[in-house]
Assembly symmetry: C2
Homo-oligomer: 347 residues x 2
């Protein structure tokens, strides 16, 4: 079968790889219908996260179950399923508590020796713990399928950020980052009852989606000017809840400084310098909390799924480019150059 | 009257200062019965926090109301009252939400132009918002008075740390810091139902108090060895809730590394380098939250007071040295040299 591999920074290839097979009784093999490229894949693409030459890549996908191991009981051949961006056993202490990303047997798609989502099929470890079955008729609904694909990462991650930021009914929320996760953060905040949502971003295409997702205000400035603009919009106090969906020093600094005293920053941007953007003195004086991290999206899928199915939330507009698997390298290029917001891969 | 002033690092004096008078209708004048020296006063003492020569100092006190302004309605002459370590108006948005430390009209005792607690009397701004009345008969109960004095800061701050760390019934809690706040954090965690409390500290006098307050384990190691010891005690997972009551790089680093995935660090140590001890990568991967800051102890006094009055909690053992106001400089010296844990000042 065909699958995307990474050989060196900026060297993505689509190659013939062995077809996946069930190797453990808890495995399933899933034929991928849709996958996508994540902003965090770009860290590997740019060489800022190390990969071994030939490693598979891609951690967001949905598809049809092709084969299951003897111990798999909750899904079966022919089921339409979505995979969260990490696998998890579903039974350890952490999984039972909902923190599936700390699963004792968990792991990342594309890790050495494991399949990635940007290919034709994937061997799924701990299929019962990992996969979530979707209604079979969604497979023929092109639009719905795109929306459901976001449950594998960005929608659940946006939701995690909103929870970390303590978004509540009536809250004022600010979102730092206009990537797919930031935009899903807007949607999640709206879903949780935020009254006012300030999206920080300066790409009209993206902030237009933010408005469509529920943003009431857009701040195009950066750095100190962004802080001043948000304070101006909030009577000098800042936002109760701030979503940090970038991970850089500047984005974290902005996030902390636009948070209202007693509020919280929900952080889901993979840290790339953001630690130095944390002004602990300010956080101490103003009792600003920091909560977040790698999102246990497996836990959130059952909660978010009904709202996607009935159209209460539709995250599908985050996809603005679609490629077949052979053109995945073009998708990386487009996301790296920011000509695409988020790329969907169809098989 | 006599009061403590600070003139330069290590230059504390007890001097004649003007008697305080009611200057605003919302003021009260309180004759101080008991005050104390705080670990955070040592930052000024050591010159690490700047002060103007002659500034008053001390932010923890209780006493008898001597005079009130015309607009003060909740307390009156002769009442026994305790003051939290900041004054607050009790009416602004933040005060109504319980975040009295962010009060729009709040301030610190000993700020330029304001009285400090380590003297014979204090002018109290916003007396209705700030002071809490205590039962009159407590004034003649020496032991109880010492316990009540901790409500002005350390007991409320320990409680804030425990809340920030998310201490719950049955939780495993670790406490970094064996000063008065850390010890009160142990007591607060016990009060909130923690099942296991690991106190980190290597001064037997202090860890003995920790055990008396509810610590089930004591870890004397520091740095990596402390992390290893706590992980060993917790089956490799770490503590659900960690109280950081020091504020240095090492203490914060230890706190983050002994927190269980999905857990929280409640930080109340005034940041002195602790920002650089935050390993955001670890916090991200393990979903470790950080919550805390300057404790709104005014809000906590009504909640903690009944438990102090009926003896459910007795924080008074944190005081191990008592001086009269004339000997306050000796108290600073003792705390700086760590021969005293916490010094009480009696008038």
């Amino acid at each position: 079968m065909r699958a995307t591999t990474i050989h060196a920074p900026f060297d993505m290839r689509v190659e013939d790889v062995p077809d996946p097979v069930v190797t453990l009784p808890t495995d399933a093999v899933v034929r991928v219908l849709r996958a996508c490229i994540c902003g965090s894949d770009l860290w590997a693409y740019r060489g800022e996260a190390a990969r071994q030459p030939g490693q598979r890549i891609g951690h967001e996908f949905l598809g049809i179950v092709e084969e299951t191991g003897t111990e798999v009981s909750t899904i079966g051949r022919g089921d339409l399923v979505v995979a969260p961006f990490m696998w998890s056993d579903g039974t350890c202490d952490y999984c039972r508590e909902g923190l599936t990303t700390s699963c004792e047997h968990g792991g990342f798609w594309g890790a050495v020796g494991y399949d990635g989502g940007q290919g034709e099929a994937v061997r799924v470890p701990y299929a019962d713990g990992t996969l979530v079955r979707l209604p079979a008729d969604a497979a023929s609904d092109d639009h719905l399928l795109s929306a459901l694909l976001t449950l594998s990462d960005v929608m659940g991650t946006g939701h995690h950020a909103a929870l970390g930021a303590g978004v509540r009914e009536g809250a004022t929320v600010a979102v730092v980052g206009d990537g797919a996760v930031g935009l899903c953060g807007v949607l999640a905040a709206k879903r949780l009852g935020a009254e006012r949502i300030i999206a920080l971003g300066r790409h009209a295409v993206r902030t237009d989606i933010a408005r469509r997702f529920g943003a009431t205000d857009v701040v195009a400035e950066r750095g100190d000017a962004a802080v001043a603009a948000v304070l101006e919009l909030t009577g000098g106090q800042g936002a109760h809840s701030v979503i940090e969906a970038v991970g850089t020093e500047q984005s974290m600094q902005t996030a902390v400084h636009i948070t209202r005293a007693g509020g919280a920053v929900g952080f889901v941007g993979v840290p790339h310098g953001s630690g130095t953007g944390l002004d602990l003195g300010v956080m101490f004086n103003r009792n600003i909390a920091l909560r977040g991290g790698v999102a246990p999206v497996r836990t959130y899928i059952p909660e978010l799924l009904p709202d996607v199915l009935d159209g209460t939330i539709d995250p599908s507009p985050v996809f603005d480019m679609t490629v077949g698997v052979e053109a995945v390298p073009d998708g990386y290029k487009a996301m790296d150059e920011r000509t695409a917001l988020k790329v969907m891969v169809t098989n």
